[in-house]
């Protein structure tokens, strides 16, 4: 009977440790490089004109993205206002009203299909739904596309959180004779509100980076849109179009907009992370 060499076992362990650490470090360095590039190229572009001026004609230096900022804020805000409650309601159906039934399973699968749908396809759908009949691109179409992206994601998360939440609590509430309405809004949603809030913030962070669906629906606008029935500029589409533009000033603005967008998304993500789950370093022993 031969004992294995401890030295060899340790060596293999160390080699694998190094390889995996290298991979983790690589992923980390990519972020660092990305952030450095964003700051270096984007920061100089964030001047006062950047925030206040309208886009300048190509080749002119004095342009800004005020219209795109406004457009993005409007579209994200409205789509969240419509999409989040709708998604939560659908999630309530899956996780509470039809809990553990085949209907709930069916709806959950439908949400799964939608969250697997590339957002560019959702954009195409809204194009055929709104842009073709109305004959022009519009902020409304953009809002619709973003809303349709939010709904299935929010529904799935809500359902998941509800299913995980304690059944004892619901039963206790129902045993007191509480109505479904009461249990839902005063017991269930209240109990899961921090998890839900963080999930919703993450969803908002996600849609604020959507580009392709807006390209097909809200398109872009060199001016401030008077109403949402006109084509509406957004930060993401601006980044895309300006980055591919041959004019250096426009490339700079694209970097500035990218930095701004990243900062926004990082802020929202971090807030979501710290409102959400409590963090334990380790579990107590049993």
């Amino acid at each position: 009977m031969k004992a294995k060499s401890l030295y060899q076992r340790r060596l293999v362990n160390f080699i694998m440790l190094s390889i995996t650490a290298g991979c983790a470090l690589f992923s980390f360095l990519v972020l660092v490089m990305l952030i450095i590039a964003l700051c270096k190229n984007g920061y100089p572009a964030l001047t006062k004109t950047f925030f206040t001026a309208l886009p300048a004609p190509p080749g002119v230096d004095e342009g800004g993205v005020s219209n795109a900022l406004q457009g993005s804020i409007k579209m994200i805000l409205f789509s969240a206002l419509i999409g989040v409650p709708t998604g939560i309601l659908a999630g309530l159906y899956i996780g509470e009203l039809a809990r553990n039934t085949r209907k709930a399973d069916f709806v959950l699968n439908a949400c799964g299909i939608l969250s697997g749908t590339p957002t560019i396809v959702t954009g195409l759908f809204v194009y055929t739904l709104i842009v073709i009949p109305s004959g022009h691109f519009s902020g409304f179409a953009g809002i619709t596309a973003l809303t349709l992206i939010i709904i299935p994601v929010t529904a799935r998360i809500t359902a998941e959180i509800l299913v995980q939440s304690s059944t004892a609590m619901r039963e206790a509430a129902f045993a007191l004779g509480a109505s479904q309405w009461n249990v839902t809004f005063f017991v269930l949603l209240r109990a899961v509100r921090s998890g839900l809030a963080s999930a919703i913030l993450l969803t908002i962070a996600r849609i604020s980076g959507e580009t392709a669906p807006l390209l097909f629906t809200a398109l872009n606008n060199n001016y401030e849109a008077d109403s949402l029935s006109q084509p509406t500029a957004s930060i993401t589409v601006t980044i895309f179009q300006y980055a591919l533009s041959p004019f250096a000033e426009r490339n700079d603005i694209a970097w500035g907009a990218a930095l701004l967008l990243t900062l926004f998304i990082l802020a929202v993500t971090l807030i979501a992370r710290y409102t959400g789950k409590p963090q334990y370093l380790s579990r107590p022993l049993r």
């Binding site: 009977m1 294995k4 401890l6 380790s282 049993r286």
Partner: protein, 259 residues
């Protein structure tokens, strides 16, 4: 009050002034005890007293978590295993551990036992099979599973799973076996059989057990340590613990009054 237990000539384990910390929170205070070879030591005391924590000193399982640390010394066979330079692989090969929840690995019965053996030895197929058989025979599981060694371990009953875990531990020739409430998750009849098995294991191994309850401590153990709030309150031969506990706290606990 901390007592140093049973002064014997053939000391196998000696714990000296051990403090233990989860992060900044101290849960073991100045633990001292000694224990001799081929006998069974029971750690008793109320929930949260630090029994499981204490038990995990002997194989330094707490080392998996970088936020935990112990101070003091734990001598096994005269060597301080809390010494940072002490080889963890060697230590854990020497100290088996059985958990409250049966922990079979998600593989076949044979593979479960072969897992530990393969970690430490290079064996031919037939010697490996032989060792697996001997281990299963020792825990009296061989007859039940010999026809389905390739069946999945999860298909066994919880009691059989626990026996499998014991077989897995003893297959790599430990000297000391730690058991943290090994019968807590299995039915009473099988628990009784497992207690009998523990009694026979003592011929070959030294055992430290956190029993499920006082009765079990009385049935299986030779010596008892009474814990409260991370301190060792009393250390006596088990038969004396019930007949004439010397300590008020121990007496209260044994008679069911709150400590």
């Amino acid at each position: 009050m901390n007592t140093k237990a049973f002064d014997t000539n053939n000391t196998y384990i000696e714990v000296q002034n051990v403090d233990f910390f989860y992060g900044k929170k101290q849960v073991l205070f100045n633990n001292c005890l000694t224990h001799r070879k081929n006998s069974i030591l029971a750690l008793i005391g109320p929930a949260g007293a630090g029994k499981s924590t204490h038990l995990r000193l002997y194989n330094r399982l707490f080392d998996l978590h970088k936020d935990r640390h112990a101070q003091g010394a734990v001598y096994i066979d005269g060597i301080n295993i809390l010494d940072q330079k002490y080889d963890l692989i060697k230590l854990r090969k020497n100290v088996g551990m059985i958990f409250r929840q049966p922990t079979p690995f998600p593989m076949s019965i044979f593979e479960n036992i072969a897992y530990g053996i393969r970690l430490h030895y290079k064996l031919t197929k037939s010697t490996l099979a032989e060792r697996v058989r001997v281990a299963l025979e020792t825990v009296l599981l061989w007859n039940e599973v010999k026809d389905r060694l390739n069946g999945h371990a999860y298909k066994l009953t919880p009691a059989q799973q626990q026996l499998l875990c014991i077989a897995r531990s003893i297959a790599i020739d430990p000297e000391l076996i730690l058991m943290d409430e090994p019968t807590a998750e299995i039915d009473a009849i099988s628990a009784g059989k497992l207690e009998d098995l523990i009694g026979t294991l003592k011929k070959k191994y030294t055992i430290i057990i956190v029993p499920q309850n006082l009765q079990q401590a009385a049935r299986v153990s030779d010596f008892s340590i009474f814990f409260n709030d991370g301190r060792i309150v009393e250390a006596v031969p088990t038969n004396q613990l019930f007949t004439n506990p010397t300590n008020k706290q121990t007496e209260d606990y044994i008679t069911g009054r709150s400590v």
